[in-house]
């Protein structure tokens, strides 16, 4: 009955699969320094273009350029590099610990170290992150004790979560790090709610929400955007686009939208897209968004363009769904190498100091690991007591739980 031909079904697919040669020549990488830095009270309508470009500071030859280039004291630059190095070293050891059976599971940050490490530097004490499982950099950048992180990973007797959570699901109110949830995106509206609470209380503290590219598809993402758009609370909404959601390429979540940053436009929320492998660019953009929040100008959406160079988790083998060498071909490079190159160029770092720092950090991590393992690993049997499992379901244990605890033999 129709004069139109039959419909066909569209399923986006990545261009390359295992066996193909990685090729990112189609990905447009704007020159470092080419994106302008608007005032923080800019009308979001005037910066639509910043959701379609990539804000970059460190140029190919390691020189900070353009409006977004922040001046950082030398010690802070070196500190930033060391944080990223420490996170990478931490990951490497914990991956090995998992393989050795010392814990059940691990998730690494390979290639994404700059994002959380630099972002945290834009926050003040008292601000609150609502992180996903791939933002341990927020803790590392505050020198949170690695031993405690490891105790959590090992679910041992000193695990701050008492062994109840999957490894890497840290929590630290003191360090502005909200208890990680295994459920994707749920924490996004919570970040907005926390920020609303801060505004309601005439406080000065701000919040930051975190999701991955894949997780932007979840419904809670919308709830967060709607409430952020309406009440304009002091919140930074971060989207880490590392190109993959387990085996699913970003095109499935992004659809026709162009970029994840563009999602902010329908909500009147200023939206920036930034080179996630550029420590200086991340810091600059985070500071801009934080200043907006602190000045009661409301939310900012930031998309970090990066690449998940490792597997999704220790349960994943990415060679089943993407070319092996894709990570090496990633055109935004390695955040640590880029920062290192800059610091060497600037004359405040050298290959020797780098090698030495690597060794120092390896020692630090190893020392922390030894301390943590002295308390116990998942397999060593020094877990928190089963009796403890009945605690904290409620502040006060109700009769039926007391009974169950007795039934369990405690």
């Amino acid at each position: 009955m129709s004069e139109f031909p039959p419909l066909t079904f569209n399923v986006p697919a990545p261009e390359l699969r295992p066996g193909d040669t990685p090729d990112f020549s189609g990905v447009e990488i704007p020159r470092a320094g080419s994106a302008r830095r608007p005032p923080v009270d800019v009308d979001p309508k005037e910066i639509r273009d910043l959701a379609f470009t990539i804000i970059r500071v460190l140029s190919r030859d390691g020189e900070p350029t353009g409006d977004w280039a922040v001046e950082l004291p030398d010690d802070e630059l070196v500190e930033g590099l060391r944080h990223m190095m420490r996170l990478r070293a931490f990951d490497a050891r914990m991956l090995m610990a998992q393989r050795q059976g010392k814990t059940s599971f691990y998730m690494q940050h390979l290639g994404e170290e700059a994002i959380a490490c630099a972002f945290q530097k834009a926050l003040y004490k008292g601000d609150m992150n609502f992180p996903t499982y791939r933002q341990a950099g927020l803790l590392i950048a505050q020198d949170y004790p690695m031993k405690l992180m490891m105790c959590q990973i090992y679910s041992n007797a000193e695990d701050p979560n008492h062994g109840r959570q999957l490894p890497i699901m840290y929590s630290s109110k003191e360090y502005g790090f909200f208890s990680i949830s295994g459920n994707l995106s749920t924490q996004y509206p919570q970040a907005v709610g926390w920020a609303m609470a801060s505004a309601i209380s005439n406080d000065t503290r701000i919040a930051a929400g975190w999701v991955g590219d894949g997780s932007t598809a979840e419904s809670d993402y919308h709830a967060a955007m709607v409430f952020a758009s309406t009440y304009k609370p002091p919140v930074i909404l971060n989207v880490v686009n590392n190109q993959w959601a387990i085996s699913t390429f970003q095109g499935i979540a992004k659809g026709e939208s162009g970029t994840f940053a563009a999602r902010g436009h329908g909500f009147g929320i200023p939206s920036l897209r930034v080179d996630g492998n550029d420590y200086l660019a991340v810091l600059a953009v985070a500071r801009w968004a934080a200043e907006r929040a602190r000045r009661n100008l409301g939310p900012t959406l930031i998309e970090y363009v990066t690449y998940r160079a490792g597997g999704h988790s220790t349960s994943d083998d990415p060679s089943a769904y993407r070319p092996k060498e894709e990570g090496d071909a990633w055109p935004l490079g390695d955040p640590i190498l880029r920062m290192k190159g800059y610091l060497i160029r600037k004359g405040i770092w050298s290959e020797e100091r780098h090698t030495q720092a690597e060794a120092e950090i390896a020692d630090e991590v190893l020392a922390a690991q030894k301390e943590a393992e002295a308390i116990g690993t998942l397999s060593s049997g020094n877990a928190p007591s089963a009796r403890d499992m009945f605690e904290d379901v409620f502040e006060e244990m109700p009769p039926h739980l007391i009974k169950q605890r007795q039934e369990a033999g405690y």
Binding site: S181, T186, P189, V192, G193, S219, A224, V226, V393, P398
Partner: protein, 337 residues
């Protein structure tokens, strides 16, 4: 003391809580300027300003999700879901987040939060304005679930819920908002002003969660009920001429097992009444607990009188609603067994 409807009592619980504690904020769909479609938050925005009582976008997951963030911050949000039939979009936030937060981080963050919602039928609301979803909350560890049956309890228990350090699901049987309802829909409702339990202190007071109340002492059979069904049970006992002991549970979780046990041990018989669909309803938990704890006292099978395992129909509402006659039959059967 003043005479209050259940609506006024709930409004008053909000009001006194907001007055006593700056951290209490109240929000939800149509809750601000208008004061809620059932008027349970009337006047609060005017009195406390839109910062502490405000309208939200129609997003139940957003309402609960933001409230969890606020609770973690240190406020005490008390939010309204317009009808319990619309709580499901927020179910993930409630189950995966509110209920688990304290446990998963060993108390580093907590979630003192109240989620209010009108429940139950008998108002020709059809399947999307009549549901009683308590069982999908009582199954979730980390939640408390409360359902008052009168203005006095509503105010006292809501005050306690707001003060509670953990998330509380607070269910309001909307068929009782203006007066007790005994299931005889052809009769006019008795307004709360003519009822003892419509007598409510104007100022602050609270009632502990987790305590049932015996509404009618009796010797022959124990009826476990809550919300609207308390009055249906009363009508049924009277009409059947059976000396039933009627326990109004008030809090479903944590449950006042002491009171239940003492009664069933005494009567040896038990009938459970709820409006929700039967299978896997809260009645199943009650029956199971009773047989676990009172097995040797039981002289008859525990019976359930409940909504049928169908959606709540519009036209056939009174065939669905557990009537005094149905409860009466169950009492009779229990006595004869």
């Amino acid at each position: 003391m003043a005479k209050m409807t259940m609506i006024e009592a709930i409004q008053s619980a909000h009001d006194t809580a907001m007055e006593r504690d700056e951290r209490v904020v109240v929000y939800g769909e149509d809750v601000g300027f208008f004061g809620g479609v059932f008027r349970c938050t009337a006047g609060l925005q005017e009195k406390y300003g839109p910062t502490r009582c405000f309208d939200t976008p129609i997003s139940e997951s957003g309402i609960v999700g933001t409230a969890i963030g606020m609770a973690a911050y240190g406020l005490k949000p008390c939010v309204e879901i317009q009808f319990s039939d619309y709580v499901y979009p927020a179910y993930d936030q409630i189950v995966s987040e509110a209920a688990r937060l304290r446990h998963r981080c060993a108390g580093d963050f907590t979630c003192p939060l109240v989620i209010r919602m009108p429940v139950g039928g008998g108002i020709f609301g059809g399947q999307t304005h009549s549901q009683s979803p308590e069982a999908v909350f009582t199954h979730v560890c980390g939640l408390k679930t409360v359902m008052p049956s009168n203005p006095y309890d509503a105010k006292g228990l809501l005050a306690a819920a707001i003060e509670d350090p953990d998330p509380v699901i607070f269910m309001e049987p909307k068929r009782l908002y203006n007066g007790p309802f005994d299931g005889h829909h052809e009769n006019p409702v008795v307004p709360w002003r003519d009822h003892d339990l419509g007598e409510v202190p104007e100022g602050y007071f609270s009632l502990p969660l987790g305590r049932a109340e015996i509404r009618r002492p009796g010797e022959q059979v124990t009826i476990l009920a809550y919300g609207t069904m308390v009055y249906v049970a009363q009508a049924a006992a009277e009409e059947a001429g059976i000396d039933a002991e009627i326990i109004d549970l008030r809090t479903l979780l944590p449950l006042d097992m002491e009171t239940i046990k003492a009664s069933v041990v005494k009567t040896g018989r038990c009938v459970i009444v709820h409006e929700a669909t039967r299978t896997s309803g809260f009645g199943a938990e009650l029956a199971t607990l009773v047989q676990e704890e009172c097995f040797y006292s039981l002289e008859a099978p525990i019976q359930r009188v409940t909504g049928w395992d169908t959606p709540y129909p519009h036209a056939q509402e009174w065939d669905y609603f557990p009537s005094p006659a149905r409860v009466g039959r169950a009492l009779q059967q229990s006595m004869e067994a």
